[in-house]
């Protein structure tokens, strides 16, 4: 059906509004991070900077532990994403390709992990980790992040496994492929979009996780960005330039990671289409 002029205009307007809603806050943060302090808090906000300075970035990188927070967040988020993808794929295979007793019940119970608000299980988890000697370790954060990302990731995997016909694996087996070879050369390329989606989900969840990171980590050197940044800001006084510079730098890895994984996402789709 051909779209009329009015329809096209409405569509463009809608897209413009959506783009503004998503992009304007990012622009406000990025552009303000290079303004002089006085301009940042000026009574009449400037949408395009009238001043230019990198002093907030210099201060952030030179006087705070932001680089350490950044490194910690990166390590924790990457490990959490990798482990979540591996476990969700294996669990997905088990749930959707293997026959075993209680499969449906266990599959449904996986989501019980989301039944309790995080704050309720915070103290029990703290005590458990204290007994295991995991308090103040990045390992603790990886375990928590994977635990919370995994159930939803397994559910996401269902859609992707459902789209794969059993015949593909049977054909590979007839051609003499081992289980590993079938997984490596048949399943993984076709599950690429699913794995990429899970990776993005797990990475972003870990990158932004605050509650557990603020309680399980004690020393400054092991803090992640959300917790470290909230400390840099302070309670009674806010250095807005520092906050904006920190916020600008902290969104970079998410954008880069999405761009990187997104490439595989598209590639996976294409390969799937050829199959």
């Amino acid at each position: 059906m051909k779209r009329g002029l009015a329809g096209t205009a409405a569509l463009l307007l809608g897209l413009l509004v959506l783009a503004l809603v998503v992009l304007f806050p990012m622009w406000a943060v990025l552009s303000s991070s290079i303004k002089l302090p006085r301009e940042i808090i000026h009574r009449i906000p400037t949408y395009f900077p009238k001043s230019f300075t990198l002093q907030h970035y210099q201060k952030l990188l030179a006087t705070s532990d932001f680089p350490a927070y950044f490194g910690n967040s990166l390590v924790v988020a990457l490990l959490s994403a990798a482990i979540t993808v591996a476990l969700a794929t294996l669990a997905g295979y088990a749930f959707f390709r293997l026959e075993f007793r209680g499969r449906e019940l266990i599959y449904r119970m996986v989501m019980v992990a989301y039944a309790f608000p995080s704050i309720v299980i915070l103290i029990p988890i703290y005590l458990m980790f204290a007994k295991l000697g995991l308090i103040d370790t990045r390992t603790a954060l990886v375990i928590v992040n994977v635990t919370f990302a995994l159930p939803f990731s397994i559910w996401m995997m269902r859609t992707f496994f459902a789209a794969l016909p059993h015949e593909l694996e049977e054909a590979a087996a007839i051609d003499g492929a081992s289980l590993f070879e079938t997984a490596r050369y048949v399943l993984v390329p076709l599950l690429g979009p699913g794995m990429a989606s899970i990776a993005v989900f797990a990475f972003v969840s870990s990158w932004t996780e605050y509650l557990f990171a603020s309680v399980l980590i004690l020393s400054d050197a092991k803090r992640t960005i959300p917790v470290g940044l909230s400390g840099i800001i302070g309670q009674y006084q806010i250095d807005w330039g520092l906050l904006l510079a920190g916020a600008s730098l902290s969104i970079l890895p998410v954008v880069v990671f999405f761009a990187f994984v997104g490439r595989f996402f598209v590639s996976g789709l294409t390969e799937g289409a050829v199959k």
Partner: protein, 428 residues
């Protein structure tokens, strides 16, 4: 040939070989504080380094924490058996910690420090209850009325001293995009503080009766809430959700003519132009029938959580070091113009008054110290301290009541009655 020289030479050689190794056991002491901004952490580290260098048998390490999480984190750490040895606290937090751990009173230590440095009595009082003293006061913070002198001068308005003057000033100043007075109004700590600052200036400072029952529901409290609501009409439309940072930004950008804050000095200096002559500070105005102004003041202190005698002694040694006037001045100026002295000799410390920001804003800092002298804290007044205040404070009940009055439009008398009932329930 005597063996003695040979043995002596051998002993010396061994001593030389192992001379670098310490001949004493080192006691490590862990400090948790909530002064997280990098410059504060750096200043505390500077003092720790000086202490550790002078006391090689002790190693103090700091682990900065967040106020947002410390109320959950400390009980969890105590339960897990790995609490800090020293913990910075405010009065109501000591009641929370005492609930989850058997603490030893530091009354004798406070007495010893008082004899040497002379504590401001109002700083010790909130920590003195249940027959003990539960923290050593370290620094004070008091809410003041900050105003832009030029804006007031241009409008022909004098700094307000009474509520009627305050309202008239806010009304006159509220024009051409200027906000007469920036006040918050939602359920959070900043609103608790501004609300109590108004309450104490109407003689409604006591939340508890002498028998521990709630004294919140009274005419004076209702009057304070009514006045706050009346004044709020001259606040910014988006002010309800403000915390300290937004209020400071409003003031420093010359949008707000007046705000209630502990300090604005460092933000005003770094982000607001820094004209010291234009920065005014005064006591929070009082009700017309009250004789003088008062305010809300927080005496911050340090608690000793360690049960190990060696660690406790090492902690005391560190605090003795910190309260030496020279060190204390450096400690207070980790955030110049925010943290005020709680000892008499600390108030005269050269290192405090020689800080560049304190030099620049000397008259303002002097006024802040004067305002702090008449400071009070809810739940810690009238010579009675009831640990139940921890529950009231943790749930921001003063602010919750204010939100009902200002935002939800409830009648002040009804909201205060409901607030009193909620407080009674929370403290059961």
């Amino acid at each position: 040939m005597s063996l003695k020289p040979t043995l002596l030479a051998g002993a010396l050689a061994l001593a030389g070989a192992f001379g670098a190794a310490p001949s004493y056991a080192q006691t490590e002491v862990k400090l948790w504080h909530m002064e997280q901004p990098p410059h504060r952490v750096a200043r505390i580290q500077e003092l720790i380094d000086a202490f550790n260098a002078a006391n090689p048998d002790i190693k103090v390490v700091q682990e900065p924490q967040s106020w947002d999480q410390v109320y959950a984190k400390v009980p969890a750490a105590i339960a897990a058996g790995n609490p800090p040895d020293m913990l910075f606290a405010i009065p109501d937090f000591t009641t929370v910690v005492r609930k989850v751990d058997q603490l030893e009173s530091v009354a004798d230590f406070v007495k010893e420090l008082d004899a040497e440095h002379g504590f401001v009595p109002a700083a010790v009082e909130p920590y003195s209850y249940d027959g003990g003293v539960w923290a050593v006061p370290l620094y004070n913070m008091a809410l003041s009325l900050w105003y832009n002198k030029k804006m007031l001068d241009d409008a022909g308005v004098a700094p307000p001293k009474t509520w009627s003057e305050w309202k008239a000033a806010a009304q006159t100043l509220s024009k051409d995009g200027i906000v007469g007075v920036g006040l918050p109004a939602n359920k959070q700590l900043y609103t608790d503080q501004t609300t109590y600052a108004v309450m104490v200036n109407n003689g409604a400072s006591d939340l508890f009766n002498a028998d521990g029952s709630i004294a919140f529901d009274n005419e004076k409290t209702v009057g304070a809430y009514d006045f706050y609501k009346d004044l709020y009409q001259y606040s910014s439309p988006d002010a309800a959700n403000w915390t300290w940072g937004e209020a400071e930004a409003c003031f420093s950008s010359e949008t707000c003519a007046m705000i209630l804050q502990f300090t604005v000095i460092s933000t005003y200096d770094a982000q607001g132009g820094g004209d010291a002559a234009n920065l005014g500070v005064a006591p929070v105005p009082h009700a017309d029938d009250q004789a003088d102004s008062s305010t809300i003041a927080y005496s911050n202190g340090v608690m000793f959580l360690s049960k190990d005698p060696a660690k406790r002694e090492a902690s005391k040694k560190f605090i003795r070091f910190l309260l030496q006037p020279d060190n204390y001045g450096k400690f207070l100026t980790m955030e110049p113009g925010l943290f005020l002295p709680v000892t008499k000799d600390g108030a005269a410390a050269g290192t405090f008054w020689s800080d560049p920001l304190v030099v620049k804003y000397k008259s303002q800092v002097e006024q802040m110290i004067k305002n702090a002298d008449r400071g009070m804290l809810f739940g810690f007044t009238g010579g009675h301290v009831f640990p139940a205040i921890g529950a009231i404070s943790a749930q921001n009940m003063l602010a919750e009541t204010l939100q009902k009055v200002v935002i939800n439009g409830s009648d002040a008398a009804t909201a205060v009655k409901e607030g009193a009932a909620a407080m009674t329930e929370a403290t059961k």
